[in-house]
């Protein structure tokens, strides 16, 4: 039986390959994700290990609680005096203090800060270039002396920095002009992609970073034969409070832990998209298998008549699926390697360069990718396999025998369906609600529950009932996950994931019932949208193609043909290469291009679209499954677009609320719109002529009521510059915070039972604790609060935090926004090239632009599942054309031209795509509305432009998917129609 199955596969190569493609892409995404993240992880590990190579022990300041990167506050510094004490210790051979800053801007020749996406701008001291502590080597020039800087090779090349040149460097203070003394790279040759490196001598660094007399860390080398542990013990005895010591290895580990967190987030994020692609792929596979099994009814029946059991028929289908799944997964696994390379470039292209020290291919990658691919194929083949067993032996001798549609015993299968659904739901609910302590175990059990539920729903003899059960359970899970308070993040995500998948499944199945009316509805839309697209692209694609081919092979005078060829070549160079390829093929092989080619026409052809739309509805189940694959991709894309539109609308709304009646005219932010900027920048701006008031908002992490929260600090000028909605208190609170006042947002007050007058204790990174009194409670605008949970005055903040930074600064000027005021502010900020002056509109646009690059990444990732569904449409159409060979032959015999055949197939394809798009868009908006209803700070906003773009994209998907099957259909010989079996 196994040999039979494999021989069968080989005899249906094209169909098998098309089915496998869906799995290949999903598996490639999973393996690519692992390769990508493992590679980044390894690159960071290498960099951090290198940095600590020469250190036996490292002393650093210790904050009272863990801080996240870029939060605006940093670990406390150490007194430089400690360095002397450490050097005195008996086991210490050498010790070196250093300072660093992750916001050290290099200023390019154009006067602008050198920034590359979100990559850090690292600045650090190099006390002694030749010491073992230094992980860098010189490529050119010498180590930095006073008022000198060394920069990394990549940045120097990009910005054309030369040794001896003077460039601007800005950290905490205004920009300083420093001489480039050398060009450096890591000794290991690794690069942190996109990051800029600036090395300074210690006193210069301390001045620029505003850490005079302080060091961030002390690297210590032990005397020979002294174990690291003993050195650490010795140092611990003299450590002041707020400092800690680790061995070099431990410190490297601690350094890379921070990045690991980011990497595992990235991993989960990308895996989720791989999972979606596989889920879409499972629809494609189930559908392809169902179609091939229907086409092979006779074959199965023949097997049965010669003595094969039901079980053997099922076995042969499953073996086929497993072989396809395994081969596809292996191909996908290796394609993943290529994909990882591609993703490195993709992230690079959107300005988010990732470090890379070669691709890492872990055994875990192989196991997970293969297991996922094979399991999905196997599961998708179970249902079609069971249908194959329903073929009665008598079908072998009947002309046109078809598969029995549903199982015979309705009562028994309803019971079986209900039972299986029940078990699935129980397993799923138990898995998500109980915590075995491991998110992975919960997720795996939840997936098991989901699979059982899906099979249960599929078992119901009434499709509609099963579909409704699945939809109902899905929405129940979604609503439970979203609206029941007090669930952990993992459970919320699991509830939502399981709910969304159940809804997709249910909608896909119930759609079967709607296909006849949907395709009748979509037919004119498909016809006219294809017409409209063709009209638009006619001069750029269809016409030049015809002209080129006329020039190459057409009849007519040489003059006319040369003119046509030149005109075509000028209109579209891409088509020129295609026609040149055809010419080459003609020369090399005996192939003859068909001529005359039809003159490109675009007028829709009612008769062919009529037959095409009938074709789309004649097998509703097939059309529904094909459309469902596209539906999933488009639902997720629409969900993202609707959420983004909601975020943008809410954000605009809230900024306008805050500024509406206030005096604010300008905002100052970092060039990248989100990094905190040094307080000096705003102070400099305050010196500009015409400035009436400056309001700074500082930000950082503190601890309160046992958790780490974002706190902000605000200037008294806020009373005039920002308008808040007060639940308790008034605008005056902003001006009267003083040294011990605070105000909190509404939600935080409720959560911690705060009222005006309540005390609130904040612990700062340096470990000190201060008590503040709540003076007011405000209602944050829907688009997000401009403040953290707790806000105190900048005066109180600066007393506790070294080198305070502003999140943003608002400025009021005499004469509001004007052509004179903007340059005045810019002039005042000339020394702070990393800051920029923006009007309210610019501020809103810039804050939103950050969102759009995230959106672009999401769209690219979701495009993968749309591509999988495109292959699904191709697959269905190819199988359909194969099945209708005789019919198409008959149509050709009674007068259908090749073009009409192609249009007929294309019309069916576009209708299918439009049905998928319509369902997906509606579903996406419903899901987004649910999410938005849950999230307080979002308002619903319909993404009109995006939806139009998605519909056009769906039509294009339909047209593209039809190209290959339509060509095959057009090539069919009309003789096929009358040939005997």
């Amino acid at each position: 039986m196994t040999r039979f199955a494999i021989r069968g596969l080989l005899s249906r190569k094209l169909r098998t390959a098309l089915t496998a493609l869906a799995i290949v892409l999903g598996v490639a995404m999973i393996s690519g994700t692992y390769v990508l993240t493992d590679s980044i992880d390894q690159a960071f590990d290498k960099i951090f290990t290198d940095i600590r190579k020469g250190s036996s022990a490292v002393i650093t300041g210790r904050s009272a609680f863990d801080l996240s990167d870029g939060s605006g506050v940093t670990d406390p510094t150490l007194d430089e005096g400690l360095l002397g004490e450490v050097r005195e210790l008996p086991s210490v051979a050498e010790a070196e203090g250093s300072v660093d800053s992750d916001a050290t801007q290099l200023i390019g020749d154009d006067g602008k800060a050198v920034v590359s996406g979100g990559a850090p701008n690292l600045g650090f001291s190099i006390a002694n270039g030749d010491s073992d502590f230094n992980p860098l080597t010189l490529v050119d020039g010498s180590w930095p002396g006073s008022n000198e800087v060394v920069v990394d090779k990549e940045t120097a090349a990009d910005e054309d920095f030369q040794v001896g040149e003077t460039i601007g460097v800005q950290a905490e203070g205004p920009v300083e002009r420093l001489r480039v003394s050398g060009i450096i790279q890591f000794s290991s040759g690794l690069t942190i992609g996109g990051a800029t490196l600036a090395g300074l001598d210690l006193p210069t660094a301390q001045r620029l970073f505003k850490k005079v007399g302080r060091v961030d860390e002390i690297a210590v080398a032990a005397k020979p034969d002294v174990p690291d542990a003993e050195l650490v013990r010795e140092i611990e005895e003299i450590l002041p409070p707020g400092a800690q010591v680790k061995t070099g290895g431990e410190q490297a580990q601690a350094d890379s832990d921070e990045t690991s967190e980011f990497i595992s987030f990235l991993q989960g994020f990308l895996l989720a998209f791989g999972g979606v692609a596989l889920f879409v792929g499972s629809f494609v596979i189930a559908n392809s298998l169902s179609i091939t099994i229907a086409q092979r009814t006779r074959e199965f029946a023949t097997l049965r008549t010669i003595g094969a059991t039901n079980r053997q028929v099922l076995g042969s289908v499953m073996v086929e699926a497993l072989v396809v799944g395994t081969v596809a997964s292996i191909v996908g696994l290796f394609l993943g390697l290529l994909l990882a390379k591609g993703l490195f470039q993709l992230f690079d292209a959107v300005g988010f360069t990732l470090p890379n020290s070669g691709l890492v291919f872990e055994p875990r990658t192989i196991v997970v990718a293969l297991a996922a691919g094979i399991l999905v194929t196997f599961l998708a083949s179970v249902y079609p396999g069971f249908r194959a067993t329903m073929v009665p032996p008598i079908a072998a001798v009947r002309e046109g025998a078809i598969l029995p549609d549903e199982p015979l015993d309705r009562v028994r299968s309803t019971l079986a369906g209900a039972l299986m659904t029940g078990v699935g739901v129980t397993v799923g609910v138990v898995a998500i609600t109980t915590t075995p302590g491991n998110a992975l175990v919960s997720a795996l059990l939840a997936v098991l529950g989901l699979i059982l539920t899906l099979f249960g729903c599929a078992l119901f003899p009434s499709r509609t009932l099963g579909a409704l059960v699945s939809c109902g359970l899905g929405f129940a899970a979604l609503i439970y996950g979203l609206f029941v308070p007090g669930l952990g993040t993992t459970s919320v995500l699991l509830w939502m994931g399981v709910g969304v998948l159940l809804v997709f499944f249910g909608v896909a199945r119930v759609t079967t019932r709607l296909i006849p009316s949907l395709s009748a509805f979509m037919s004119p839309i498909a016809r006219w949208s294809v017409f409209a697209l063709l009209v638009v692209f006619w001069p750029f694609f269809t016409l030049p193609y015809w002209l080129l081919r006329y020039g190459a092979w057409g009849p007519g005078s040489a003059g006319k043909r040369v003119l046509a060829f030149i005109a075509g070549a000028l209109l579209n160079a891409l088509i020129l290469t295609i026609v040149l390829g055809m010419w080459l093929r003609k020369v090399v092989t005996r192939w003859e291009p068909e001529w005359p080619a039809e003159f490109p026409g675009v007028i829709p052809d009612r008769s062919t679209t009529r037959v095409g739309s009938e074709n789309a509805r004649r097998n509703p189940q097939r059309t529904a499954s094909t459309a469902a694959a596209l539906m999933i991709g488009l639902a997720l894309v629409t969900l993202v677009a609707t959420l983004a539109a909601g975020i943008i609308a809410s954000f605009e709304g809230s900024v306008n609320d805050l500024w509406k009646t206030s005096d604010s005219d300008y905002a100052i932010t970092a060039q990248n719109n989100f990094s905190p900027i040094p307080a000096d920048a705003a102070n400099a701006a305050g010196q500009a002529p015409g400035v009436v008031a400056v309001m700074n908002v500082r930000t950082g992490e503190v601890r309160a009521f046992g958790e780490t929260i974002f706190a902000t600090a605000v200037d008294p000028t806020a009373r005039e510059l920002i308008i808040l909605k007060w639940k308790d208190g008034s605008q005056d609170v902003l001006a009267d915070l003083g040294a011990d006042g605070a105000f909190v947002d509404d939600g935080y007050a409720d959560a911690n039972d705060l009222v005006v007058g309540s005390p609130i204790e904040l612990t700062f990174p340096d470990g000190s604790t201060e008590r503040y009194a709540v003076r007011g409670i405000f209602d944050p605008p829907t688009g997000g609060s401009p403040f953290g949970n707790v806000t105190i005055s900048t005066e109180a903040w600066d007393a506790k935090v070294d080198n305070p930074r502003n999140l943003y600064t608002f400025i009021a000027m005499a004469g509001d926004v004007s052509d004179a005021n903007t340059p005045a502010l810019e002039e005042a900020l000339a020394e702070f090239p990393n800051s920029k002056v923006q009007t309210r509109e610019q501020f809103i646009d810039n804050q939103i632009s950050g969102l759009s690059s995230v959106l672009n990444i999401l769209y690219v990732l979701l495009a993968l599942s749309v591509i999988v569904s495109l292959f699904g449409i191709v697959n269905t159409l190819v199988l359909t054309v194969f099945e209708r060979t005789r019919e198409i032959g008959m149509l050709r015999a009674i007068g259908m031209t090749r073009r009409q055949v192609r249009r007929m197939i294309r019309h069916e394809s576009v209708i299918t795509a439009l049905i998928g798009a319509a369902l997906g868009i509606v579903l996406g908006i419903v899901l987004a509305a649910l999410l938005i209803a849950r999230v307080d700070f979002l308002v619903f906003s319909f993404p009109t432009t995006q939806v139009i773009v998605f519909v056009i994209a769906a039509v294009v998907v339909g047209i593209v998917a039809a190209i290959f099957p339509a060509r095959r259909a057009a090539k069919l010989d009309p003789l096929q129609a009358i040939a005997y079996e």
């Binding site: 008769s607 004649r618 259908m896």
Partner: protein
């Protein structure tokens, strides 16, 4: 309806058809010349492998001869491109197939009008109505093929072939998939359309009883026309066949 003066609407001269190359090559036709007379029913008979189907495919422009020429309604068709051939089929040729080949999702009425729909022509209501009446389907028009018997399906197919008023109608084993009583009705229908409307018809068959309704019977064997009979009875046809295979 055009011909070329002497009453022939399809003229084939010296057509040969070879399949494959080299040693495995098979000659399906070896220099056949034939004229199909207007307003007559011509039957092409022969044992299987005699080349009768190949001959019909070439006369109808579905296949091309290796050598020789074919004129349909005055046009030499062996050199035509696919588009011109398709147009020629629309205007001049009708087909009736052994397996009916109706579109399952269209009603009988829609199937009948299909050639006109494809050609983008407006059906002449009176003409369609008359054809439907002639084939006896007036009360089954709204049914789909799956709701019709084999005989009824073949009637739909004949109506479909006649609806575009073709110069010549080709029928490929029209009774091959029907029981003998139904098959006889279909043959009568074909005969009637020749008699009442002068519909030129070519029928390929291996059934002597079917061939016997023809005005003229061409016998093919090994790719050549070996005999021709006019107005033969079934017994004469059977006798001729036996002679051939002997």
């Amino acid at each position: 309806m055009s011909g070329n003066g002497n009453g022939a609407v399809v003229v084939a001269s010296e057509i040969a058809r070879r399949y494959g190359e080299g040693e495995t090559a098979v000659d399906a036709l070896r220099g056949v010349s034939v004229e199909i007379e207007r307003a007559r029913l011509t039957a092409v008979m022969g044992p299987s492998g005699s080349g009768k189907s190949t001959l019909m495919h070439i006369l109808a422009g579905l296949d091309k001869p290796t050598s020789g020429t074919v004129h349909v309604a005055g046009t030499e068709i062996t050199t035509l491109g696919d588009n011109d051939l398709t147009k020629l089929r629309r205007e001049h040729i009708g087909f009736v197939f052994q397996f009916f080949n109706l579109l399952p999702m269209l009603t009988a009425d829609e199937n009948i009008r299909l050639p006109l729909t494809i050609a983008g022509e407006k059906p002449d209501a009176g003409w369609v109505e008359q054809i439907v009446r002639d084939v006896g389907l007036a009360d089954r028009l709204k049914h789909r093929p799956s709701e019709l018997s084999g005989g009824q399906q073949q009637r739909v197919a004949i109506a479909r072939a006649l609806v575009s008023q073709p110069t010549v109608l080709f029928a490929d084993e029209p009774t091959g998939n029907l029981d003998s009583a139904t098959g006889y009705e279909i043959l009568e229908l074909l005969r009637a359309s020749v008699d009442s409307r002068g519909q030129t018809t070519v029928m390929v068959t291996h059934e002597p009883r079917a061939a016997a309704i023809a005005d003229r019977i061409l016998f093919l064997a090994d790719g050549e026309i070996v005999r021709e009979m006019r107005g033969a009875s079934p017994h004469e046809v059977i006798a001729a066949m036996e002679e051939l295979s002997a």
